[in-house]
């Protein structure tokens, strides 16, 4: 019960502090920009193809744009997840609002889980709405739909929730500033690891691949994105990608996600949330 009350308060705070309004406005701007750019590019390519006499459908271009669009959306969602929640716990600790809250008849874990739930709802709604909007724009301009939209959206929501969980965990023992810096560092590191792993695959250097995987274990956000990107590509695109050396690198991966990665990331997310509860339950306020 306390969890739901705190989640509700978190939603109210997001609305009151104009977080939601900003997110919607920023998101709409992103979609419009992407739609206009994509439509212009597609129009130009089609016109040039018609002039040259060839009528090959630019489906590789569409696939590329789709993966790129979602790639940027993924970054936007990840950054949003960090920004909205970086001060969630540390803000209450620093300001002292936590004192009156903890003295109410609740368990401390309810505070962590309630905040997590509140922000998770906001971020899930955001990622789902933005992904749906992006798919709609791509469909309207090119007539293409991703083959497994739910898998993509699900994995992208997971990226946001993973970063949210790490942000809540960091907030239980770090200042908002240190937490934010740390999260961006980890997020960037995960991205870099994905690039190293991808490059390692291209040049057949197993050391690079291992380094990439090791860092991905530390923060599996990029690994989740790679999985999400796989589900954006139709079998024919994947076939085509497999004939070229690089596929859609560095924006997406043409390799199906490993089941062990998904299991690991599930355990990782739950463990991070559990650790946040543990640290928060034991600390002085």
């Amino acid at each position: 019960m306390s969890i739901l009350l705190i989640a509700r308060l978190t939603l109210k705070e997001a609305a009151r502090k104009r977080l939601l309004a900003l997110a919607v406005a920023g998101g709409a701007l992103f979609l419009v920009l992407f739609g206009v750019g994509f439509a212009l590019l597609l129009g130009q390519i089609k016109a040039e193809a018609a002039r040259a006499g060839g009528g090959a459908p630019p489906f590789m271009l569409t696939a590329m744009m789709m993966v790129m669009g979602f790639y940027f959306l993924n970054v936007l969602a990840g950054v949003s997840a960090i920004f909205v929640s970086v001060n969630a716990i540390s803000g209450e600790l620093d300001s002292g609002t936590i004192h009156a809250l903890v003295a109410r008849p609740l368990r401390r874990r309810d505070i962590i889980l309630g905040k997590w739930l509140g922000y998770a709802l906001v971020l899930t709604a955001y990622v789902v709405a933005m992904s749906t909007g992006l798919m709609a724009i791509i469909y309207l301009t090119s007539g293409t739909l991703p083959p497994a939209p739910l898998a993509t959206i699900g994995l992208m929501v997971w990226v946001a929730l993973l970063l949210l969980t790490l942000s809540i965990l960091g907030g239980t023992f770090l200042s908002a500033l240190a937490n934010g810096v740390g999260l961006f560092l980890l997020y960037g590191l995960a991205w870099l690891a994905g690039v190293i792993e991808g490059l390692g695959g291209l040049v057949h250097n197993s050391t690079m691949v291992h380094i990439g995987i090791a860092v991905s274990l530390l923060v599996p956000s990029d690994a989740l994105w790679q999985a999400a990107s796989y589900y954006l590509q139709s079998p024919s695109i994947l076939m085509l990608a497999s004939t070229s050396a690089s596929g859609l690198f560095p924006f997406g991966s043409s390799a199906p996600p490993a089941g062990t990665m998904l299991v690991y990331t599930t355990i990782y997310t739950l463990a991070a949330l559990g650790l946040a509860v543990l640290v928060f339950s034991r600390r002085d306020m």
Binding site: S95, H99, A100, A103, R104, P105, L106, R282, M285
Partner: protein
């Protein structure tokens, strides 16, 4: 069974600072208990332990016989934190509604209690304003309102009048008396001794994380009277004579303040002045105040 029991509480913070060093006390049902001490004596740390915000390094505390922080214990207490910071993007009403829900008040009772708490603290007109528009004093009042909201058996107030003007302080005193009359137990953390003196039944004076003096207010104040002797000049002979009547607290060139226990101290002092051929301008007996006892206790501890 006491409402609050603290036994040999010790708290050492991460930075090595010793906040509590063997603190023990009890608070009994229905009393107004004053917890006094200079800044940094460990008062707030003690309250934080009782409300489950801070875990003691050693020792044990019980609230309603339960470990502090147990939701069953917290359900029966109300707490005004020292810095009374709340969600300033909520209105007064919304804040109380949120806390009321957390305390499990059902809708009808919640609405009634929010209204009552706002009226008790003089905030009825500000119910629909957001807290960031509240003055410091109003924020402290809403803090008191949330502490009383669920009609707790035990109310812990950490410096409840620090942001209030003299009128507001008087209102809080009246509120404390009213809560006591209704059967509540109050734990009052304060360094405003005159306030404590006016409302508390029992006090504990803390310094360096330990209780250095404790007892019923009546006992502490009893038997410790003062006598102010005003003369044309204070001679060494006079001082020596007065020393036999009581202990000299202050001595100036025309005035001596004695701490006395003997009810005949005043006539004895008058005789002493006359017999030495000095002129007596005033002889004022006064009840010693809590402040004197406090200063004596803390200074005695320091020596």
């Amino acid at each position: 069974m006491p409402i609050i029991e603290a036994r040999q509480l010790r708290k050492v913070y991460g930075n090595g600072k010793v906040a509590l060093d063997g603190l023990s006390f009890e608070v009994r049902r229905g009393e107004v208990f004053g917890f006094l001490g200079p800044n940094g004596a460990g008062k707030t740390t003690a309250v934080k332990i009782l409300t489950g915000l801070v875990a003691p390094t050693a020792g044990e505390a019980r609230v309603f016989g339960l470990p502090p922080g147990d939701p069953a214990a917290k359900a029966r207490l109300g707490f005004l934190p020292e810095h009374f910071r709340f969600y300033d993007w909520l209105t007064g009403w919304e804040l109380l509604d949120f806390y009321g829900r957390l305390s499990g008040l059902e809708a009808g009772r919640r609405r009634r209690r929010i209204q009552e708490a706002l009226e008790l603290t003089g905030l009825a007109d500000a119910a629909d304003a957001r807290l960031h528009a509240y003055s410091k004093g109003m924020q402290q009042r809403i803090g008191i309102a949330q502490a009383l909201l669920h009609e707790p058996e035990l109310v812990l107030l950490d410096e409840p009048t620090s942001a209030l003007d003299p009128l507001g302080r008087r209102e809080v005193r009246d509120l404390i008396r009213r809560l006591k009359a209704e059967g509540a137990t109050l734990f009052l953390n304060s360094h405003l001794l005159s306030e404590v003196e006016m409302v508390c039944d029992r006090v504990a004076i803390v310094d360096h994380g330990r209780v250095i003096r404790a007892g019923l207010m009546a006992e502490l104040l009893d038997g410790s009277r003062e006598l102010r002797v005003m003369v044309d000049r204070v001679t060494p002979e006079l001082r020596a004579r007065l020393q036999k009547i009581g202990s000299v607290q202050q001595a100036g060139s025309t005035e001596v303040v004695l701490a006395v226990a003997d009810p005949d101290a005043a006539p004895l002092a008058a005789e002493a002045v006359h017999s030495l051929g000095l002129r007596l301008y005033g002889l004022v007996p006064a009840q010693r105040r809590l402040e004197d006892i406090f200063v004596q206790a803390v200074e005695g501890e320091a020596q």
